[in-house]
């Protein structure tokens, strides 16, 4: 398992480097014929480094272990929740979205105590509003 992690990430970087060098960079970086460092010089060098080091890593592995699959899954769940929250902010604004996002996150974390949930729902957004709008005189998203 430990060697698999490095082999998998090394192979991924080889593929990524090749894709960047042969497809992404030629199509997304303008070609310039003058100057000392072309716009593609550093990105191309990076792609080559990724290919070479990725290839070496597939052979010269370390003792790197991976977190359990459950942790990856939970991280994905929280990332999805955050994305949803940010979408909600873009639709209804922070002040209306925050009292939904905060307790949703707290519930997902495992908080079941009503007092803490209520604090997360009302006190945190209110404090942020007071600090940003009233003290810093800036607007909330």
């Amino acid at each position: 398992m430990t060697k698999t992690a490095d082999r998998a990430s090394g192979a991924l970087f080889v593929v990524l480097g090749l894709a960047l060098y042969f497809y992404v960079f030629p199509n997304n970086i303008e070609t310039v014929d003058s100057g000392w460092v072309y716009p593609s010089t550093i990105p191309n060098a990076v792609a080559i480094v990724l290919i070479v080091c990725g290839a070496i890593l597939t052979v010269k592995t370390t003792q790197q272990g991976l977190p359990p699959a459950r942790e990856f899954g939970m991280a994905l769940v929280f990332l999805a929740l955050l994305s949803l929250g940010i979408w909600l902010v873009s639709v209804v604004g922070f002040l209306l979205a925050a009292p939904i996002i905060a307790p949703a996150l707290m519930l997902a974390i495992g908080e079941r105590r009503l007092l803490w949930l209520a604090l997360g729902c009302f006190a945190t957004p209110a404090l942020i509003w007071f600090f940003v709008v009233q003290l810093l005189d800036r607007s909330l998203p």
Partner: protein, 501 residues
Amino acid sequence: MVDVATILAGFGDAFTLWNLMFVLFGVVVGQFVGAVPGIGPVMAMAIAIPFTFGLDTLPAIAFLVGVNKGGLVGGAVPAVLMNTPGTPDAAATALDGYPLARKGKPLKATKMALFSSITGDTFSDIVLITVSAPLAILALRMGPVEVFALMIFAFAVLSGLIGNSLFKGIIAAALGLLAASIGADPEHYTPRLIFGHYEVYDGLPLASVAIGMLAISEILRRLSQIRGRMRPAIVVVETDDPNDKRVTWAEYWGCRYTMLRGASIGTVLGALPGIGSTAAAFMSYAATKAGSKEPETFGKGNLHGIAAAESANSAVVGANLIPLLTLGIPGSVGAALIISAFMIHGVQPGPLLFQDQGRLIYGLFGAMVLANFMNLWVGQLGLRFWIKVVSAPESMIFASALLLCIVGVSMATGGLFGVAVMLMFAALGYLMTAFGYSVVIFIIAFFLGPRFEISLSQSLAITNGDLTKIANYPIALVLLGLAVASFIWFLSRSKVDEADT
């Protein structure tokens, strides 16, 4: 050389009531977040940077320095009480702090951590204030070729020192450079890798990348490890003996050599990019134990163990600013965040900083000294309160931190596009950490990327594209030689590690 009037004016700026307030606020926030396991000063600094936009440069930087310094003191509290360091730097503190707390002396242990932390920090600040200006004068003699060679050297050292594999370090640096190359290229100003998003024409927003990689990814990692039940509150057992609640002068003075050794180790290691305060703390602890007449008492609540770890990890903070202020190269994530705050406030770190912004720098030095005093006072008054903070529920802390990240990045980038970028980098940071790639190297490479490309371009222009002309630049040659030597050394070291394994 900076004249005395500028130095005095700078220190005078630091001692205004307005600045004092921000230093104090920073120290309080730092100690608070340091005491909460999982937040830590780096995450707090990343979150706080966007909120400093409305401030002048000095109070903003002074506040962040206060957070950083306060965080190191606060980090010792959960290390001592729960054997769970609030920050990685405090891991060595737990070795003797926790056993001492179990003996009914939690206040004695946290106070010893506080005193030795401030002693180490003050020592390294004095070194910083003394050596950085002369070093900056030396650094001013460096042209683009030398700067380019220096960056190659810095990348070689960082890649080898941070993390468990040289090649993973190089990949992390390459990814940071790749992220830095998004936006207009510095020589021709043509859009590069922007995929139709003109919001990133000037490059990816610093706040989005830093907060995504350092704060959100770490919160995601912590959240994914929570298993349903909230962390239980801590039960602190104390004895009735007043001597068990304080550190006497005799006990403090008895640790003077330990603290001096720790502060020296921390200062030397802090001045070198990439080593970090955790390594300094463990090195100092090991050296103290090895030199002790009673090595068997270590790990069982020996005050020297706490003093060794805390003086060393705190001494790293001041010394970390030496490469930042003299060369513009951050030696740690904390320094990288301070560099980003400098840049956000329109100040370019590097050797010219002393010449162009001497007053600001000496104001910063003044704020650092103030922060040490504040740390002592706030720590003395607040230790009992921070002990309560340790038992705050993680659900509340992390949900609040996430909301603050969203608001902070939105304020920094002027909209939710930056927040979306933050989420992408949070996912990248999480995956990089999970697979053992250092986000620290990534962030430092990201900060240095544009300067690296400009230095390369200028170097090629100066040498007319003929790299053999580097032979005319002895400092650059030495630095490139050191970079190659470091690379070979790290490579051979990894072979030894493999053989050991």
